[in-house]
Amino acid sequence: MSALDQPQVESFLDGFLKKVRPRLKTLFAHYRIPPQDTEDLLQQALLALIYHREGIRDPEAWLLGTLRNKCLLYWREQRRRLYDSVDATVLEFMADPLEPAQESADLRRDLANALERLPERCRSLLALRYRQGYDPSEVAERLGYSPASISKITTRCLAVLTRHLVTSGSYKKKVGT
């Protein structure tokens, strides 16, 4: 790049950022990314745009496509963290010897109700995990899954359980109305 190119590049960037600004805001709002988490996603994407600019024909489409993907990955990561938390929480509930008897009974009943609403496959897997304390390899053996796939299947079932915990009341209400 010659010295003469430099101001052109800067003006491209200024103009480009001005142009995409409203679309970026709409995109982040659509994906409900908390503003404080937007900073890293946007900075990474714009840095990549600067570095790869010469190989990118349509920078706007590229930036929006890249950010959509980053938003999806952001939520996937958040969800994975949530599933892990729900799993750890339920395991802790079930193992907690200090829980008063009545509370413990209530909890077991509520959990049983929650599991009851899940698909059969997840119900069996999570029942073995939570009620009988089996570890993943034992669950795999009992249910006939390969040890390699049990982690993925468990995550899927935790996703179903979490979704149920987080949304079932809302769905019930919608169905009722």
């Binding site: 790049m1 409203p22 982040f28 958040q78």
Partner: protein
């Protein structure tokens, strides 16, 4: 319900997985009991994520303008930083070019030493420049492309996240350097080396998060590698994954490139219709002004496909219109490809003198470029001309020369066996056009398939 309702912030923190373990536990306990009021709140936080998979509609209602305005502060901050970074990247880019020039002025053995030991050369833009240069050399000088890609790999493996604005960019650079090395070795017919480089590329790609555009590019190279190894299903899978990413990113010209690569797979598996369809779609998407080389490659393949299917007149007409593009590209490999195609089309139209001149020229050029396999294939085309002209002595001479060229450059036993059969038949004046076609076709297939066995015709 025995537990108190968590605050809305706590519910949001729960969905985002951001609370402390104790807080997570309290909210989970509450939700397990099935509180409809709180689930109403959490469902509102959850639902948008469920429709993420359909990013086509990004329109928001006007009343959501407040939500959008919440991003202004962040955008201002990031934009300011990025504009400042752009100037820094431009400086780095010119430094990378200077380092590249300095590096390439050194003898080959010193280049590796410098990249391994000198901190001054630990520069991301130098690595980018090496990758670019390797890519540029693919067409002109495949051996040089491989040498330069090796330097890029050497450097990329020594760079750190701090040199590249983060882990993701570094991972992307590394995986791209390895993919370029694999591709350069593939083009230079070092299939063993290419396989190792591609295996490394795959391992890096699966073990780290890389920018999406890098992933798509690398998947394209991997697809070419699989194609060279005749692993057609894997090649198609890699090209499809790459195409999906390019569609997502709205990079239509790059999608065109990928379709061009898919057409190659169709050609290999004998799906003539698919080959033509993908070639035509690729030609619709590739911008001839912005990407003349790839556009030319697609046209070249289309002309070749037409010739192979016996549609010589159409091939001739398209070649006539495409010739200016070859001349404009001007690099040696493209000019050789043009000459070869001219020879084939001339042969198809029974213009044997023109065909002979073309095949002789390209054979000599391939020998000079150390591309023995291509030289052998060109020799077989030359032999076809002599057979059609009834010049048995020339057929025999070309057969001997071909054998000598091939033995000097290749260790492919079965291809050698095929050439021996041809040479021996030529010596006894029994080499017909069918035998030449059979041997030529075997050599093309065996090029990327060392396990292929040649069965001598009766």
């Amino acid at each position: 319900m025995t537990t108190p309702h968590p605050a809305p912030e706590a519910l949001e923190g729960f969905v985002l997985g951001r609370l402390s373990p104790v807080e997570m536990r309290d909210v989970a306990r509450h939700l397990v009991a099935g509180c409809p009021r709180c689930q109403d709140v959490t469902a509102g936080l959850w639902e948008p994520a469920d429709v993420f998979e359909d990013p086509q509609t990004l329109a928001l209602a006007d009343e959501e303008a407040d939500i959008r305005d919440g991003y202004d502060e962040v955008l201002d901050r990031v934009f300011e930083r990025i504009v400042a970074t752009e100037a820094r990247v431009a400086d780095q880019r010119s430094l990378g070019r200077r380092l590249y020039d300095e590096l390439m002025r050194c003898p080959a053995e010193r280049r590796q030493l410098l990249l391994s030991n000198s901190l001054r050369f630990r520069n991301r833009m130098l690595c980018e420049r090496l990758i670019e240069e390797s890519y540029e050399s693919f067409f002109e000088d495949p051996r040089r492309a491989a040498e330069v890609a090796r330097l890029a790999v050497l450097l990329a493996d020594r760079l750190e996240a701090g040199n590249c604005d983060g882990e993701e960019e570094l991972a992307g650079l590394r995986v791209r350097a390895w993919a370029h090395l694999g591709n350069a070795l593939r083009i230079h017919a070092d299939l063993g080396g290419a396989e190792q480089a591609f295996a490394m590329t795959e391992s890096l790609l699966s073990g780290s998060r890389v920018p999406l555009i890098e992933k798509a590019r690398v998947l394209s190279f991997l697809g070419s590698g699989h194609l060279a190894q005749r692993r057609f299903a894997e090649a198609l899978q890699s090209f499809d994954r790459s195409a999906t990413i390019y569609k997502k990113l709205g990079q239509w010209n790059l999608l065109g490139r990928t379709l061009l690569q898919k057409s190659l797979v169709c050609g290999e598996v004998g799906d003539d219709e698919g080959e033509m369809r993908f070639l035509r779609r690729a030609l619709d998407l590739i911008d001839p002004q912005a990407d003349p080389r790839v556009f030319l490659a697609a046209r070249h393949n289309l002309i070749h496909a037409l010739y192979e299917r016996g549609r010589v007149r159409e091939a001739f007409a398209l070649l006539y219109h495409t010739r200016p593009l070859y001349l404009k590209a001007g690099d040696r490999m493209n000019l050789l490809k043009l000459r070869w195609l001219e020879g084939l089309v001339a042969l198809g139209m029974q213009r044997t003198d023109q065909a002979e001149a073309a095949f002789r020229e390209i054979r000599e050029a391939f020998v000079e470029l150390d591309l023995g396999y291509d030289a052998a294939l060109a020799s077989l085309d030359l032999a076809s001309v002599y057979i059609l002209q009834g010049r048995s002595a020339d057929v025999s001479r070309v057969a001997e020369e071909t054998l000598a060229i091939f033995q000097a450059h290749n260790t492919h036993c079965e291809a050698l066996a095929a050439l021996l059969v041809f040479s021996s038949a030529a010596r006894f004046e029994r080499a017909g056009i069918d035998l030449v076609r059979e041997v030529s076709s075997f050599l093309k297939r065996a090029r990327n398939n060392p396990d292929l066995r040649f069965s001598s015709p009766s």
